[in-house]
Symmetry: C2
Subunit: 185 residues, 2 copies
DNA sequence: CGATTTACTTACTACTAAGTGAGTCGCCGC
DNA sequence: GCGGCGACTCACTTAGTAGTAAGTAAATCG
């Protein structure tokens, strides 16, 4: 599928790092055929972000169905990032954020919205965890949520450039434990 | 100067986001003249990383000359990132890390080395601070150092995509306080 | 069955990228 | 005044980019 091939390239090489010809080549068709489905590359980019955000939010909803408490959910959240990096990819919106200034206007809003949705979800988990007395952290939940998203995105970026997807595991675990402590009741 | 113009573009748009013609245009010369100084774009890229790393390490050495203790040094470290973002830029090696898979081999090593040097410096400050009893943190200094670098790089990335350089200030301060606590003796 | 739609291909345009080689211009020591 | 040299420019090549226009085979619909 076009979106699958384009998504993998975008997560590895960035949006400006692949061409219609690349995607067409993998699928055994011509570049013009990709233009049939996505007239402009911007259309493809917007669709890519929409689908990625949709699936990401679905994964978060799935995590919420585990009744293992706020701490386990935060660990599961970090686990999503870990699996993406294990495939040699970055977070789509993370790599797009780096290319932000080169991207067409239509793609920018949805990228910010992705991070906003992440923070919203984390904020909810943190608030609930503190309320239930199973989590402790400093300041407002939203601040911790923003720091958590940032720490995971950054840890991915640096881990890839230093050759170790394993390094990410321990770094993300430390960042999570530091930003937010589990309490045993 | 060529390197100044190219560096600003690289920090805003990424290495693949600018061309010789862009840089030449700003300087009022032709692209061929840039090729005279940097035959291949890779040469320019390598030089850019070298100079950035050099200056970054010089700034770290400058911070060490403040005798205000480990905690103040860590805050100064975060302050470097803050000032870069305030100019509308990202960390050069942060944005290059996002483009990592598209970059020529010769540029990759130096990018990893930049992060290595950051971790080394932070590790030294953390060790010293713990030794002196003015800092408390969990686990090995190097782990905290890696988490700190990652958290700052990621916070920058996300802050820019969300329109707020101010958001970075509070996020980085929270990440710093969470990963490493100052002790009053 | 004929009309239309879907998913393409072929062949192309217009443009931009990096990179090259030959030639020019101004300055500096002699 | 003259040779040489560093710093360029001009004119170019090669290779790739997004995007378009026209045509086609096969499936779908009324």
């Amino acid at each position: 599928m076009i979106l699958d091939a384009a998504e993998r390239r975008a997560q590895v090489l960035g949006f400006n790092g692949f061409s219609y010809a690349d995607v067409a080549g993998e699928l055994g068709v011509t570049a013009a055929s990709i233009h049939y489905h996505f007239p402009a590359k911007t259309d493809l980019g917007v669709r890519l972000i929409e689908r990625y955000t949709q699936r990401f939010l679905a994964a978060l909803a799935q995590i919420e169905r585990h009744p293992d408490g706020a701490w386990a959910r935060l660990q599961d959240y970090a686990g999503i990032y870990e699996r993406v990096l294990a495939e040699g990819r970055l977070c789509l919106c993370g790599i797009l954020a780096a290319e932000y200034e080169t991207l067409p206007e239509r793609m920018r809003g949805p990228i910010g919205a992705f991070f906003g949705a992440n923070e919203d979800w984390l904020t909810a988990q943190l608030s609930e965890g503190r309320q239930a007395g199973v989590l402790a952290f400093e300041g407002e939940p939203r601040g911790v949520a923003a720091a958590l998203t940032g720490a995971l995105e950054g840890a991915m970026l640096v881990a890839r450039a230093r050759g170790g997807a394993e390094a990410f595991v321990s770094t993300s675990a430390l960042a999570l434990r530091s930003l937010c402590q589990p309490l045993s009741p």
